[in-house]
Symmetry: C2
Subunit: 428 residues, 2 copies
C-alpha cells in the first residue's frame, strides 16, 4: 500500500482550490494516516490563467475534464465543477467507466443520476463517494453508511442549507425583512445572485434525497421530495413562532412510514430549546433516529472552502486506505424505488391568512376548517389597516390532505387576499 494514490481534480473554484491546499498543507500527516502518499497529478478548470492563490506548477493541466478523467496515471477523480449535467456528468461517467474512483460534491448531479452512477461504479469496481455533497463538512454520509450501519434507520432530518438558515436567523436577530437579509447574504457571498436554488429549497432537497437513499436503502428519489422554500416567511411569522416557543427552520425530513417513505423539505416550526432550534447562521445539522442507537445529532459548517474540502479529503483518505463500499451503503443494483408514503404523518400546523376585513369572514373560514376536521388550538388576529386582517391559527394535529383541501377552499373565498401560509410544527 505504499504506492501513491494519484488524484485528478476537475474544477478549481473555491472547493477545488481548498482540496489542493489541504493536500499541500498536510502532505506528511495524510501519508501517515493513509499509509501511502496522496499525489495530485493533474487538474482541469475553465480558465488556466486565473490566480487562485495556489501553486499549480507541479500538476499537469487538461483543458478537457473528460480527458482528465481518462488519464492512465490517475486513480481517483475529484469532481468539483458543479452542474447536474454537462462536463461534470461526462467526466464522472468517463472516470467510473475506466474503473477510476470518484469523489464528488455535486448533489444536483447525484440527485438525478446517482443511481446510474452508483451502478456503473459497482460494475467497474470503483468507489463513488459524496460526503461533500451533503451538509458540507459534517461526516454524515459516513455516519449513516458506516458508523450506524448496524441500525435500522427510521428518520433522518435536518437543516441542510446554510443560506436559508442564515437568512432566517438573521431576520430574527435584526428584525429585518426577508428581502433585506437576502440582499445582505448576496453581498456577503452566502447567497447566489439567483438565489432560487437555495431559498426555494431545491439544493437542500437534493441533499435530503441522497440522505434518504443512504438511510433507507432505496433509490435516490428526488422527484418524491415535497419541496417548499422560505420566500414567503415574514418577520411576523418568525415573531409569532418565537412567542410560542418555536423557531422557523427550512427543515428536511425523510421518514419511514408504514406505507412508504415520506420526504419533505419545507419551512417548519421546531422547539426553540431543541438542538435544531438552537442552530444559528450558516451551520448545518442532521438528526438521525436509529432503532438500536436512538437519536444522534451532527452539527457543523454546511459550506465553504475548508469544510467542503475536508469532506472530500475524508472520502479520498478512505479510498487511499482501501475502503470501497457501495455509494449508498448497499449494492446499487439491489436498490428499489421507494414507495412514497401517501398520507404522510399528522402534525399541528401554523397557519397565516390574509383576509379582507368583512363581517362573516372568520365564520366562513372556521366552518371550512371544521368541515375538514381541522381543529383549532389557538388563534390570533393582528392589528390591521382596516382593509386586510392578518389572522394566525395554530391547529391541533391533522393529516395534511384535509388541511390542504380546507386551505384551497379558504383561498377561493372572495375575502382571501393571498394564498395562506401553512407551516408544519415538527415534533422532534
Amino acid at each position: 500500500m505504499s504506492q501513491p494514490l494519484r488524484i485528478a481534480i476537475a474544477g478549481l473554484g473555491t472547493v477545488g482550490a481548498g482540496v489542493v491546499k489541504m493536500v499541500q498543507t498536510h502532505g506528511d500527516l495524510l501519508t501517515r494516516r493513509a499509509g501511502r502518499p496522496l499525489e495530485i497529478v493533474a487538474v482541469s478548470a475553465r480558465s488556466r490563467g486565473k490566480d487562485r492563490g495556489i501553486d499549480l506548477g507541479a500538476f499537469d493541466w487538461e483543458d478537457d475534464p473528460v480527458a482528465l478523467a481518462k488519464r492512465a496515471d490517475v486513480d481517483l477523480l475529484v469532481e468539483v465543477m458543479g452542474g447536474e449535467d454537462g462536463p461534470a456528468k461526462a467526466c464522472v461517467e468517463a472516470a467510473l467507466a475506466a474503473g477510476k474512483h470518484v469523489v464528488t460534491a455535486n448533489k444536483a448531479m447525484l440527485a438525478l443520476h446517482g443511481q446510474a452512477m452508483a451502478e456503473q461504479a459497482e460494475t467497474t469496481g470503483a468507489a463513488l463517494r459524496f460526503e461533500a455533497a451533503v451538509a458540507g463538512g459534517i461526516p454524515i454520509v459516513k455516519a449513516l453508511t458506516e458508523g450506524l450501519a448496524g441500525n435500522g434507520i427510521s428518520r433522518v432530518m435536518g437543516v441542510m442549507n446554510g443560506t436559508c438558515n442564515y437568512i432566517l436567523t438573521k431576520m430574527e436577530a435584526t428584525g429585518e425583512s426577508y428581502g433585506e437579509v437576502l440582499k445582505e447574504a448576496q453581498a456577503l457571498g452566502y447567497a447566489e445572485a439567483d438565489p432560487t436554488v437555495d431559498v426555494g429549497g431545491i439544493d437542500a432537497a437534493h441533499k435530503l434525497s441522497l440522505l434518504a437513499a443512504t438511510a433507507f436503502g432505496t433509490r435516490v428519489a428526488f422527484d418524491h421530495v415535497e419541496i417548499e422554500g422560505i420566500e414567503r416567511i415574514t418577520l411576523q411569522d418568525i415573531k409569532n413562532a418565537a412567542d410560542m416557543g418555536y423557531k422557523i427552520k427550512l427543515l428536511g425530513v425523510a421518514q419511514q412510514n408504514s406505507d412508504g417513505i415520506e420526504q419533505r423539505m419545507q419551512p417548519c416550526l421546531v422547539p426553540t430549546a431543541s438542538p435544531l432550534g438552537q442552530l444559528e447562521g450558516v451551520n448545518n445539522m442532521v438528526v438521525v433516529d436509529g432503532d438500536f442507537i436512538g437519536q444522534t445529532v451532527y452539527q457543523g459548517p454546511g459550506a465553504g472552502e475548508g469544510p467542503t474540502a475536508s469532506a472530500i479529503l475524508g472520502d479520498i483518505m478512505d479510498i487511499a486506505r482501501g475502503l470501497i463500499i457501495p455509494a449508498f451503503g448497499q449494492p446499487a443494483k439491489g436498490l428499489t424505488k421507494p414507495n412514497t408514503s401517501s398520507k404522510g404523518s399528522d402534525a399541528a400546523y401554523y397557519l397565516r391568512f390574509s383576509l379582507t376585513d368583512a363581517p362573516g369572514t372568520l365564520a366562513k373560514l372556521a366552518s371550512i376548517l371544521g368541515a375538514h376536521n381541522v381543529s383549532i388550538n389557538r388563534m390570533h388576529q393582528y392589528g390591521h389597516d382596516g382593509k386586510t386582517a392578518p389572522l394566525v391559527i395554530v391547529t391541533h394535529a391533522t393529516p395534511r390532505q384535509p388541511l390542504d383541501q380546507a386551505l384551497a377552499e379558504i383561498c377561493a373565498l372572495s375575502a382571501s387576499n393571498a394564498e395562506p401560509v401553512a407551516l408544519r410544527i415538527e415534533s422532534l
Copy 2:
C-alpha cells in the same frame, strides 16, 4: 467477500446481549450492507445458565475467554467483559496475537494498554477498534480517524460521562442536592453502587485520553490527564453559574498548545446557550476543532445496551467490509508520548470559598489573589449563619499555576474552613 465474518463475543452483559440482538434482528440488512454475512459462532461469559432474554442456542459456549479468542473458526473477537486487566486483557491479547480482529468497548483497558495492543494488532495485521469505548453510540472515533482525516485537529472536548451529566442536570432541574440525585441515579441504574469511577471523572478521563491519542497522533497518555470529579459541586454552585449564564458540566478538553498537549477532565462552566450548555440527561457530546473544517459537534446517547451495541456493530461492519486501519488512525509504532503542556491555557475561574466570618478575612484573601496577579471580575458574599461566610469570586483570565498558589495560601489561612472550589470557565 461472500465468506461470513465469524464473530466471538466475550462477555454477555447488557452490551454483549445487545450485540447478539442486533445481529439477530438485522441479519439480512447487515449482509446487504457488508456484502457478506455476520455470523456469531461462539460466546463466553461468567454464568452459562443466566437468562439474558436472547437465544444462545446457535452459538458454541466457551468457559474460558482466552480459548474463545484462540478458536480457529473465529475471525473477530468482541470484548465486552470490562476490567482493565485480567481476562479482558488476556483474551484481547490472545486474539491479536493470533491475527484476529478485536472490537472492544473497554476504555479502561485501552487507556492503560492501548498502545501495546495497537502495536500488536499492526504486527499481526489485525484491526483493533474501539468506537464503543468513547461516547457510547456516537461515531466519534470514526469521525476523527476517517471523516476528518484531512484536518489537523487542534482541540477535542466534550461531555463523555452520562452519569455525571445526569446528576448535574437533575440537580439544576429539581433543586436536589448532589447526594440525593446520586442516590436516585444509583436506583435507576445510571450510577454504580461505587460511583467513584464515574463521578470522580476517571471513566471520562479514560475516554478523553483515547480521543486525544486519536486526534493528535500521540500515544495514549492517561497519566497526563488532569482529573477532577463532580463530588464537590453544590446546588449553590449550579445556581450561581446559572445566574451568570453558565451551566456546570464535567468537561473533558484535549488541546494542542504550542508547548505540548493539555488534557483536562474537570467540572467547568460553559455558556448556557452553547451546544454543550444545552446538553441534558445521560447524553454525551463531543466538539472537534479542525484546521480546515472548523468546528463540528456530535451528540448522542453515551451509554446503554442499544447505543453501545450500535457502536460495536459499526466497527464490525467496517472490518467485514475490509477496512483495516491503525487503531489510533496512524501506525502505532510511530506514535510518541506527548509532551504535556506545562502551563496550560489561561481562563477565567469561578471560585467558592468557605471562610470564618472574622474582620480582615476578605482583605487577606484579596491581597493573596492580588499578589499572584489574579484579578477579580465579580464577587458575591452569600447570607450566612454568622460563623461561616460562603464567598464566590469570578476572576479575569489567569494562568492556572499562580491561581493554584493563591488558593493554597488562602486555604492555609486560619479563617479558611474548607478547600476552595475552583471551576474553570471554558470559552468554547
